[in-house]
Structure formats: C-alpha cells, structure tokens
Symmetry: C2
Subunit: 419 residues, 2 copies
C-alpha cells in the first residue's frame, strides 16, 4: 500500500504555518511500513481540492487529508471528498452528542454552523476528536481509502494515535523500526564522509545522518516482519559504526543531550550547578527541561555583568582585569564559584562573545570558554563557534550551551567511574 498526504489550507500556501502535519503523518506511516510517495498542499478551494484529490488517487491507494473540517464557510474538505466518492452527508448522531457535550461543558451555545461538523459521508468510519470539535472520518471505496483529519497539529496527533493507528493496522504487513545514535562534537558531513561506504552498502537496515541543532542523529532503520527481527538486523552494523564514530556517540534513542545528562546524573546521584554568562540561562533552562531534575540541580546563576560574576561567584577583580571576562581563568573561577555556592558535585560555566557586536581580532564573536569543575576534576574547553556568514547569536549560544551539557556528561562519567 502506498499513500499520499494532502494538506488543505490557504495558511500553508501563504507561509503562515509550517506543515508539521505532513512530517508527523509521514513518520507514522513509515512505522507502519506504508510508503509515502507524495505530499501535496492545496488551499481552501473546492475545485483545486477536487483536482488534487483526483491526482492523488491516480498515484496512491491511501490519501490522508488534513484541514478543512471546521465549522466555517471555507471549510470544504468533507463536502468535496464526500462528493468525490458520490456519498451524501448524513447526520452522525454520536458526533452530534459529542458536540453538544463539548459546548455544554464550556457553557456555550451550539450554532447551526457547529452542527455541520456532525455530518459525515454516508458509510464512513468516524474518528472521535479528543481535543477539538471536528471529528475525522475514513471512506473505503473500490480499493481506495480516504482518511480525513482536522488541521490543528495537536488534534491530528491525538486522533491519529488513538483512532487512526488501530484502524490502519489492517493494511500493514511489516513494520519499520529505527534506532537513533546521538552524536555530539562532529558535523553531519563529517559523519557522512567517515561512514560513506557503510551507508552505501546498507540497504536494509539503512543508515543516515541528520543534523539536529548542533548535534548529529545517526539513524539506523530496518524494515521487517516484527520489531524484534528489525532490531536484530541492526546488530551487525553497531560494531563498524562504533569503530569509526563511537567516541562521538553520547546516547542511543535518547531525544537530546539534556535528557541523556539528567538521566545519567539521576542514575549516579551526581548533583550539578551552572554559572552562565554568554548562554544567559540556556544551560539552566535545558537541565530544568527534564522532569525530575530537582534531585540533581539545586540551581544556577546568570552572571551577565562583571559585578554579578564577582558578587555571586567570587570571580576576582584581578582575574577580570588581567584576562578579561571571556577567558579560561574567568571561566574556571565562575565554575568554582557556583560549585562553592551550591555545594554541587560538578559545576559548569560559560563565558564568551555571542555577538553580533562585542568581538575583536583577539577575541572574535564565537569565542566561548566552557569550564567544568569537581572535587578532583577540572576541564576547560575553548570553542570558536562559526558557521560562516550565517552564524547568528542564537546559534552561538545554543552551541555553547550544548557543549556545556556535553562537558558535564563527560565529567559525570569520569567521576562516577573513578568513585
């Protein structure tokens, strides 16, 4: 079975909204082993939607649409698709009951416009909307399947997971499983160069690197009759991958560096704290992204001014005068200062020039020092962050913060192994 995703909405064509629905549905269909060969987007226009639908069914067995199920005059999807299949719209009583319950719970009155959402193509399978008012539906006709979903990404996800996924299982005879190796400290193109031969040789499982906000995600994807079989097929690849890029791998199937770090710290009962200058709170924000972090993170400071570096972190005036705020020496004193203030096992600091102003020949924009200290641990990393002329303040800060998280993780591994 192969599928096309057809997203409906003028806001997509005006560039007001990014089409994350197409991405999400593609991921989900890949997991089911259903090939997606096309995405299409059309506006809220009946004729163009009908044409797009016809083209889609010429090349796909399954067409999933998103959008255009709302109550207003420009929501045309259901009418147009029902018409395409020559099905009248008929009242779906459970949907009407749901609508009444929805409005009653909000003490709002239902309008005839709203009631339109309870009408469905005759013979359709109706999907409940768990977070909005527009139900979804599936029509099966002559070997072709149309699935209509609402537009808001949250409604799409919830309806897909709870209603559509169980429905689609019957069309799937194999599944796609993947494993994500997370790398830090190496670029996507470098990973590709180092693993080129292995990537070319591997067809099932496949091997592909993806750049992701300063990290690289190396994805192994297998197509198999069962998840177990799929994961077993990946095993022979692990050894050659590890030989080439093993030292950059910080985690497998973890979403990001902060999750890997906080998980490790919780497992090993290691507390950390952060003193930030150029990252301005991003390291602290990243650590506290993860629920449960309060057991390993008492807190941190953003010492943006020199005064606060001295006051909170006991950075010496002489250090700032001799070496400047952006220096290895200041970074070390900041880390020592925050560790002393919080009593944490490990502490990290960042100080650098995030730009766009403030750089000099000696200390250019993108120069950042990251220091990590512990009782018997000390490490300073000097970074020159540059992605050419596209380098932005946000990129420098993000890369510096990721490096701080990575250095903390490395330090935690060292001290937990020597304990």
């Amino acid at each position: 079975m192969n599928a096309e995703i057809l997203c409906i909405g003028t806001e997509l064509l005006l560039g007001n909204v990014v089409n994350t629905n197409a991405t999400y549905l593609s991921q989900q269909l890949a997991r089911l082993g259903i090939s997606v060969y096309h995405h299409s987007v059309v506006g809220d226009n009946a004729q163009r939607l009908e044409d797009a639908l016809r083209i889609a069914f010429q090349r796909a067995d399954l067409v999933i649409t998103t959008g255009g199920l709302g109550p207003t005059y420009d929501d045309l999807s259901k009418e147009t698709i029902a018409n395409y299949f020559h099905r009248p719209l008929v009242l779906h009583q459970p949907s009407l009951d749901n609508l009444h319950a929805f409005y009653a719970s909000r003490a709002r009155k239902i309008t005839p416009n709203n009631e339109k959402q309870a009408y469905q193509p005759e013979g359709a399978i109706v999907f409940t909307n768990h977070s909005g008012t527009a139900p979804g539906a599936a029509i099966e006709d002559n070997g072709k399947v149309a699935i209509m979903l609402p537009g808001p990404p949250r409604e799409v996800k919830l309806m897909f997971e709870r209603e559509v996924l169980p429905y689609l299982q019957k069309f799937s005879n194999h599944i796609i499983v993947s494993r994500d190796l997370q790398l830090f400290g190496i670029g996507e193109s470098q990973v590709e160069t180092l693993l080129k031969e292995l990537m070319m040789q591997s067809t099932n499982p496949t091997l592909a690197p993806y750049a992701k906000e300063g990290e690289v995600n190396l994805r192994i994807t297998a197509s198999a009759a069962s998840a177990e079989e799929g994961y077993a097929m990946m095993e022979p690849l692990m050894e050659p991958i590890n030989q080439v890029v093993g030292k950059y791998i910080y985690g497998i199937d973890v979403p990001d560096l902060q999750t890997a770090l906080v998980t490790y710290l919780l497992e090993h009962h290691i507390t950390v704290s952060a003193a930030e200058s150029c990252t301005g709170g991003l390291v602290s924000k990243s650590i506290t992204d993860i629920a449960g972090c309060s057991d390993i993170y008492p807190g941190g400071v953003c010492s943006y001014s020199n005064e606060m570096k001295m006051k909170w972190l006991n950075v010496q005036t002489s250090t700032l005068e001799t070496h400047g705020a952006v220096s290895e020496e200041t970074a070390l004193e900041m880390a020592q200062g925050i560790r002393f203030a919080t009593g944490s096992d490990l502490a990290v600091s960042t100080t650098g020039i995030a730009g766009p102003g403030g750089g000099s020949a000696e200390k250019p924009v993108g120069l950042v020092y990251v220091a990590v200290v512990g009782e018997n641990y000390q490490h300073v990393e000097k970074l020159n962050i540059s992605y050419g002329e596209q380098t932005t303040r946000a990129m420098i800060r993000q890369r510096a913060a990721k490096n701080a998280l990575y250095q903390l993780l490395q330090a935690a591994k060292v001290i937990s192994q020597t304990d």
Copy 2:
C-alpha cells in the same frame, strides 16, 4: 503569475525533515504578489519527479524546486528538469571556478562527482550558492519558468534573497505588505470571535489571527501597487481593532515579547533582573536572546531548591514553611531578593509547578506565581496554565516565562510613565 513549490527529497517523505523551505518560499512569493496554489513533495526518484513536474506546469507558470542539486548519485533534479525542457547540461565555467575556490579554501580535493555541480541546463540563468557548493538555476521556456534551488534551508534563504528575489521582480506588478499586531493574554479563538465581523468584511486588507507559542499574532495584509499604498489601506482597520483587543496588543511588527521588552527597557534606561524557579532559566535566556541586553540586565538566578531561594534571595524559612515554595508570598520575596542582589530597577520572579509530577489538589500542575517588584511597584499574577490533556511541562514553562516578560513590560511602562 501563479506558482507551485515542488520540494524534492525522500527525507521529507519519511518525515525526517520538516518542509520549512515550502513555508519560506511561500512567504517570499506572497510578498512579491505571486500566488502559490500548490506545494508538492516527491522523493529522489526520476520518474516521479518528471510526473510531478508535468502536473505542476499544467497548473502553474512558475515552478520552484528545492533539493536534489548535490553531488551524489541520488541527486537528480537538475538532470530531470533539464531533460523535461530538452536542454543538455553544459559546463558553467564560473560555477566550476567557484567550486575549485570552495574546495581550495578548505584544503580539500575536488572529485569528478563534485564537478557535476558545475554543469547547468543550456541557456539557464545560474544563481550563485553563497553558503554551499550547489548553484541554483532558472530556465525560461515558452512562458513557463522553472527555478531550481538547493535543499538546505540556509542555502535556500541566502540564494533566494541575494539572487532569486532580484530576478523575480520582473514578474511582479504588485506587492503584498503586512503588519503584525502582537497580542498577549488572549487566545487565538477568542481574538477570532471578537473580531469575526471585521474579519469577514475585510477582503483587502485581510485580517487573520495566528497562534504563536502562547502569543497571538494578528496579521493585516494588503495587496497594493506600492508598499505606501498598502500601509495606507490598513489605517482604517486600526481603530476598530484597538477598540476590541487594544488592551492585549503589546507591540506592532516586533518578532516577540523579549524583543519588545528589551527594546523598551533600553529606550527608557530601566534595568531588570530575574529570579526563577519553575521556568528554570527560560526568562533569563529570553532576555539575553536579544543583543544589547547587557545594558539593562546584570543577571539573574535560577533558585531551583529551597536552599538556594534562601541563600541567594533571602526568602525566609518561615515563608517557605507557612506558604510553601509555590505561593504569592515566596514569589514576592524572590523578586525582592533578586532586586536587592542586583540593584536593578525592576525584578521578576517565577515559582510554580511545571509537572508532570508534583501537583496536588490544592496546588495543581500549572499553578504558577509571577511577581514583579520595583521601588514603588508590586504586582503578583497567579496563573493556572492548562491546555487540557495535551498540557506539557514545556508548555507550562514557556507560558509562565512569557507571562514574566509581559509583566515586566507592563511594569516598565507604568514606572516610566510615572517618573
């Protein structure tokens, strides 16, 4: 002239990459007054690309492709499109020179594979790639125009701005201008309900609200012969909009709350600081997102543990014992504490339950206090942040941080007007 955006890449169909290129190009074409009626995505497959191209040119005058211009075997766009127009690929010497310079500057050797990128369809207009190796190109043929761009979003943006935009001007006889009113403290659907009649009446300019990470962007868009004329057409809408939602508007044509805040603080020489518990550094991170913030932001602390709330902020043990860390009283003491420590004009604090754990009947997940204090200013906001069952830790933290920025801006306006 109407256009179709045709993005090429199997990674899009697998859901590994979000199609931000289609969004970006749609926005750019809207500005030029070129209507986009379709987006399409196909994989790296010559036959399906050729079919998609044929369909695209049946319904559009201009087709812009992205992707498939790289050096590897599955980069087929240029060959397929040249073939579609019956044009042979010929060596484009300036592109070859650029390629050699690119590799020389990186001390890398050029391979025959790479040289393939210097070949272009005969008679094509070639666009320089300012951040990668693959040049773009345009083919004009019989009233139809094909524009080929690379895949990486950064390369697309730079090439579009510097090369394609000047080229496309000749096809544009009117432009689209828009003005973004930024609202905080009101939901998208509420804005829509309040402005429904005005929205229905307005066809040029149009009026549309967009939800954006806890804020609402109300966009007025006019199509006119000149930018001046377009902006003048918007004027009559401002009065009725202000009457209905004026109190929620915090800025016009500013990208976000932190930019509005830091800009206002810099203009009025007001310094601020932040003491964060549940937002964990996100307020500090947001303020320091903006270049130049060091003039108004000495720093802040993330006092995640009670101990650090007492140590850094002088929150009283009795306050924590009597009212708890998540309380109006603690929020106020935190704000007063950070203002005292930094000597800032205004100070903000956040304390709350970001979840998913840690909630109780009395203090549920989503309960957050935001306090702002100044010399003669004091305000505490109690928030109950909930988006129903989809509410995440990230959403609660983000909404709380935005509220903190908004309360700071409100306070800054009050104190600057009473000074």
